[in-house]
Symmetry: C2
Subunit: 505 residues, 2 copies
């Protein structure tokens, strides 16, 4: 493979990897809506039935300009059965790139702690996702209609929504509000506390890569974490994946090799062209990344139905020594990939375009990645197990321009949200999983007494936000305890402040 | 006069009063540009020659959306003769609604302290004012072109400008930046620290009415302060102004009375219609407000050439007892008004449309007042010396709609900038003059250890930002000393932090 081709692959990978945050959603959306229906429902957790009410708030399409004066209906979900009124706290999920019912049903931590805190739960849908479409069916029709899809607009929606909830519900006026989110939702939770500290008393930003932007962390760190996960999950596991790309390239040089590969991987569409090969390798790369994100300690159905510690299961097929043939190596690779795609044995064939579905959610994140959310990624094949590929902003920008007629602004998020200079803010917990590739862009050290980092060495992507599980490692149990103790601390702070104000007023 | 007419008057007054912040600029703009020219120049302060360089930075027209991808040239002025490089601090003037050279030449405090601090001075022009026109000559052509005239866009300009100054000047990379502004510029300075604490280590917000918005302070407080200024500046002074409206109404009932009024006030255009009378009274009301804002302890030429303590001078003409006739009372009023309009004796006649000139600056603030900057005002004729008039948001909104095809959002500034809930921010000095009507919406008590209020009982509108003067009252001398000591404190904090980061990095 030429360097040019390698670069092109990475360019594409870099672009699509930015969307991993939402691949959660893209893939699961269809699945979940079947389970839960649209207006409330019950999650199939063994312990806790989830029930909520669905509401809609009229929001300005454009908070930052006055010419576009239209409104849209923002969906939000409220569960107040455990709420101690008046004044009980509100846990506010800062919805990310997908249908809010999915986040509602998957953020078990909020449900688990609601009773102890006497908390109302509110889950706010992010504009341009789920049902919260600023221009209805036209929202994605062109870049003009997409113009109001930014994190700043979403934060303004949240601020106005909270104001509305507090004013419209008896007993909620003085309720302290805590922002909670995971992944991009975690970034929003942290940014929300930074920009609207008057609205939320603190934030739990779980697996929130707020430093994954240009110039803040080395572009190769993300894939290094993926590689480490495989390295420690089985003998020779990362080494054999690193070797697999050469084997794939060798086989793809001949028609019979292509045929063999297509059959070995049970591909729905046989590999034929160079582009097919790029797509195939990109898909495989994403598979390893996804496995790293959902390397949970118990059977779960987050991106796909998977066994506990799925990387260990996959790596069993890759415990081969270096003397094996290309075909033997790639047989192991295909078996490992099928742990991810076909654990239940129900897939007749594998589709290499599967990790990026065509749902609105995906398109929305594509647009965000092409405007504000520019997260450089690169690989070198040495510190990581992937083919080398540089970060190429120009190619990325050109791709965005072709796709949406916009150009990304690589530096804007750093200016707007402070980059690594966040020490003057307060009351934010940054929790990160040691197994989660996104920890590469996370805040993994205490910035100040009240900007704290919680590391969960055995945790994948925002494990702490999931329901408690008997198989949870001690590190995540401790993390949740600590998070809860910060919540209590912030709530006590707010109560004291409220008393002072009430006395002096 | 009927109540309806009174209300209409106040509605207009409320609208125009919101623009007082910029009447500074509107009136003085033409005057100043003659004095100083456009690219640098020398201020006629007795002590300190002002010299600076003029630069232009390409800024995005829309920081918060990606469809409008155009740029414009933002003007900024730099004076670095006193700057201690590397690392000396930067004092950054957050330009408000007018030509930045005017603020540069009038913010003597910055020039006075530059040497002691070893500071670089940067004065940033606010978009849509002076030369910083996003769409050139078309910037005010319609509401579509005005859409990017908001405080948020201006703050983003400032953040990007500082990033640029720090990266492009040798020795500036680690320079701590302090935001300084007066009036609306002071609001911007405070908001800048709140929203971009990574960019500025602190802010001096002088005479910044950040609480003048809906629901934060009583709408009548502003005029109460004006009234108090007159009450304490001469015998019966406020009482006679309160009585003057009735006298005016009496005289305006007859043609001869109108003629008498027109002659007595040396009006350029004689009073004829009811509308003329409303305009006349509104103009007179604004005159008293303006006098209150510029009630400085020395001869000055801020809004108009004026004697020292101009209200005391005006009140000499109003020290009449209650037995005087309407004509005698109004003769006193006209003499008092002429202290403001004709102190130098050079005005042949007075123009009742004079306090709101037609310059771009005025139109810009009109638009801001019609969108974000909604500052309710009212009078009751009891606690203040004006004709009673309620705050009427609907009428205000309708007027805005007619003028710009936009509707103001009364609550937005409160949500965006936290309203009275600002305690979680840090390092902001709110200085207020006890004589300044805008102190009604200012932060006049310490909010926390690092959100401090400095009261200057003898100060009018941002007196502390003016050049030191031999006639300055002790209170403003003390205020400036205290401000400087906070600057040093913040600079030391930043230096410590920088050392810590450098050591750990």
């Amino acid at each position: 493979m030429t360097l040019g081709a390698g670069k092109a692959l990475l360019d594409r990978a870099a672009l699509t990897l930015c969307f991993q945050l939402l691949c959660f959603v893209g893939s699961l959306h269809a699945f979940k809506t079947q389970l839960f229906g649209r207006h409330g429902g019950f999650f199939h957790s063994p312990e806790i039935p989830v029930s909520y009410e669905t509401f809609y708030l009229d929001q300005k399409i454009d908070h930052f300009g006055f010419v576009e004066d239209g409104t849209f209906k923002q969906r939000y979900l409220v569960a107040d059965k455990q709420w101690r009124s008046p004044g009980g706290p509100i846990l506010f999920y800062t919805g990310n790139e997908g249908d809010i019912t999915w986040f509602c049903n998957n953020t078990g931590f909020m449900w688990d702690v609601a009773e102890e805190l006497g908390a109302m739960l509110v889950f706010a849908e992010h504009r341009y996702y789920g049902e919260s479409m600023p221009f209805g069916a036209d929202s994605f029709s062109d870049s003009k209609h997409l113009n109001y899809l930014t994190a700043e607009q979403a934060l303004a929606d949240f601020a106005i929504l909270i104001q509305n909830v507090k004013l419209s519900r008896a007993g909620a006026q003085h309720s302290p509000v805590i922002a909670i989110g995971g992944s991009y939702g975690g970034m929003l939770a942290a940014w929300f506390r930074m920009k609207y500290p008057n609205v939320v008393i603190g934030a739990l930003a779980s697996s929130a890569p707020i430093w994954q932007f240009s110039g803040m962390v080395p572009c190769g760190d993300f894939y290094k974490v993926v590689t480490q996960d495989f390295a420690k999950s089985g003998s020779n596991c990362d080494t054999n994946i690193r070797a697999s790309w050469g084997a794939i390239n060798n086989l793809s040089a001949t028609a019979s090799g292509l045929e063999w590969l297509s059959e070995e991987f049970s591909l729905c569409a046989p590999l034929k062209t160079d582009k097919d090969m790029l797509d195939f390798k990109s898909w495989l790369q994403e598979t390893w990344v996804n496995l790293a994100m959902v390397d949970y300690p118990y059977k779960a159905e987050f991106l796909q139905p998977l066994p506990r510690w799925p990387i260990q299961v996959a790596c069993k097929y890759l415990a081969l020594d270096s003397s094996v043939s290309d075909e033997q190596l790639l047989h192991g690779v295909s078996q490992a990939a099928k742990v991810y795609y076909n654990y239940t044995g129900s897939s007749a064939c594998l589709n290499t375009s599967e990790t990026a579905t065509g749902s609105l959610g995906v398109l929305g994140w594509d647009y965000q990645a092409c405007t504000e959310m520019v997260m450089p990624m690169c690989t070198d094949g040495v510190r990581d197990m992937f083919e080398p590929g540089e970060w190429n902003f120009q190619a990325y920008s050109d791709e965005c321009h072709a796709m949406f007629d916009v150009r990304p602004r690589a530096d804007w998020m750093g200016v707007l949200f402070g980059g690594k200079e966040i020490a003057s803010h307060s009351n934010i917990i940054f929790s990160n999983g040691g197994l989660d590739p996104w920890s590469s862009g996370g805040v993994t050290h205490n910035v100040s007494e009240s900007l704290v980092s919680i590391m969960i060495p055995d945790g994948a992507h925002h494990l702490d936000l999931r329901y408690a599980n008997d198989l949870d490692p001690p590190s995540v149990r401790e993390a949740r305890k600590l998070e809860l103790s910060y919540f209590w601390k912030w709530i006590r702070q707010a109560a004291k402040k409220h008393q002072r104000v009430a006395k002096s007023g």
